[in-house]
Amino acid sequence: MTAYLSLRDLTVRFRTPKGIITAIDRLSLDLNRGEVLGLIGESGSGKSVTLRALLRILPQRRTIIGGQMMVGGRDALALAGADLRAYRGGEVSMIFQEPATALDPVHSIGAQIAEAVTVHSGCSRAEAMARALEMLDLVRIPSAKARLASYPHEMSGGMRQRAMIALALSTRPRLLLADEPTTALDATVQIQVILLLRELQRELGMATIFVTHDVGVAAEISDRVAVMYGGRVVETGTAAQVLKRPAHPYTRGLLASTVHGAVPGARIDAIPGMPPDPARLPPGCAFAPRCAYAAPLCNAAVPPLVQGADGRATACVRIGAIGGAA
């Protein structure tokens, strides 16, 4: 079975007054239908840029995109005009981090969902409204019929996020992109939204990429996990593989430095240094300056993502010396 989504050597560069910055460097990923990929990374890792590249909403004039992006068998980079408009929001949909700013404050929720449906399927206003009601029920918003007329500011944070999910799913996309959708939510609301997304994803069979910086959230929702650093994928595998038996030094460092596993009161095993500046990446491995296992070999060239035996891939030339997976 060919993968639904296939990225090969995707490279995204931005033109800035200070020169050309490489935000994503030769990214290769596969995603099957109905699979959830958790994309973990910190600031500057390129995870959000990846989503925006997939949705084709990066600023055209400033962006240079290279490589291949196949979505549902079509070349997504070659889409233009009406095809592109049908693609964005139709085939692929995105949920953002901040529902307050992602929803239009001057239109009711029902109107926004209905508009999305009408644009993508061309059905009548009445049918679109019925669909909107259906969606609000699907995301378990109480009193959905009354809520159709509500405005974003009249709803609480959790409800707004559900409304945004309803909006994103109203066009029955086959690829769902989620950009840290639960980061701004309270803990009790976050777990509700995560469970809702998991259930809907399974029910509707969507391929999903879930970007987060929170390892716990990734563990809850992902089938597979990819870890990004400095614009590159440094490790992929199933969620259990990457999160319970991390191989790459960065993944190990990240998991070891989470407060979750640390002994209360004791020193946390923090990774020294800071995430790299995308404009000033080191010549070889981006993580080498902070890596405890770094050797001169690491600075020679960017380590390629090497497929392992059990379906995992790691981009580290010192993997053998470290002793493989923990």
Binding site: A270, P272, G273, M274, P276, R280, P289, R290
Partner: protein
């Protein structure tokens, strides 16, 4: 042992905020052109005595309305035979002063009122802002005409009228900016350090409010120049024989059909200066956006 950072921000010379604004402004071609135009015109007006040998007040009945390009009078002569270039340069001094002084005064007075209103809030804010609203309700140019008319013609009266008219919008802009800044975390932190209101205003508020206010004041300069010229045009500003661009537009009206280029010259200068200030204020706004 505290954690030290291994990969670090490279050592570059850190530029101050205004130095950064200046370097960005310098690199914008439109702003650069405006600054060049203004430098030439304002510089020429300031250096008028050294650039021309004619007396702006002395005319000649024979040499009336000579066209542009006349030997000895590069830009021609006006309806009383006075050299146009000289009149324009000396007139520029008057016009520029009549435009700039009200803006500076309004900035000082209006800016202070606005900051107090924004920072103190509550009833003081209501009192100041509603009083300003009353003045604001009058259309600016009519108000300027009314005040100048009531006080009589003359440059000083015109300056006063223009200052009064320019104060309300500056109060508004400053108050809005101050209200925004007052809520920010670093102001809260300053209060938490135990700083008094004056210290907070001086150290934290003024510097951060100055940016948007200066942008607005620069755009007001362009308006003030036109209003000053307008007042002089209808006889409420500079009085003859004082050279002033607006006044010159009035006195050269009669020559519109015979010497259109002469009649238009003062207007061209007003236009150039006003437009330059306007575009410069836009460039300044863009240069102030950090990062």
């Amino acid at each position: 042992m505290t954690a030290t950072l291994t990969q670090d921000v490279p050592i570059e010379r850190s530029t101050g905020y205004w130095a950064g604004v200046w370097s960005r402004l310098r690199r914008d071609p439109v702003s650069l052109a405006c600054m060049a135009v203004l430098a030439v015109i304002v510089g020429a007006c300031v250096l008028a005595p050294w650039l021309t040998s004619h007396d702006p007040a002395v005319g000649s009945v024979i040499l009336r309305l000579k066209p542009v390009g006349t030997p000895g009078h590069i830009l021609g002569t006006d309806e009383l035979g006075r050299d146009m270039l000289t009149r324009l340069l000396y007139g520029g001094r008057t016009s520029l002063v009549m435009g700039a002084v009200p803006v500076v005064l309004a900035l000082l007075i209006g800016g202070s009122l606005g900051m107090v209103a924004g920072f103190v809030g509550g009833r003081v804010n209501t009192a100041i802002m509603r009083s300003v609203d009353v003045v604001f309700a009058f259309p600016s140019i009519l108000l300027a005409v009314a005040i100048a008319g009531a006080m009589g013609a003359g440059i000083v009266n015109a300056l006063l009228a223009l200052t009064i008219v320019l104060i309300p919008p500056l109060v508004r802009v400053t108050e809005a900016a101050t209200t925004q800044v007052r809520r920010l975390d670093y102001v809260e932190a300053a209060r938490a350090s135990g700083a008094g209101a004056f210290t907070i205003l001086r150290v934290h508020v003024v510097g951060n409010v100055l940016g948007p206010v200066l942008v607005y004041a620069a755009s007001q300069l362009s308006v003030a120049i036109i209003m000053a010229a307008g007042l002089s045009f209808i006889g409420l500003g500079a009085k003859p024989p004082t050279p002033e661009w607006g006044l010159m537009l009035n006195t050269l009206r009669g020559a519109i059909y015979s010497q259109p280029m002469l009649a238009a010259l003062p207007g061209v200068f007003i236009f150039a200066v006003s437009l330059s200030f306007n575009l410069l204020s836009d460039g300044l706004r863009q240069a102030m956006e950090l990062g």
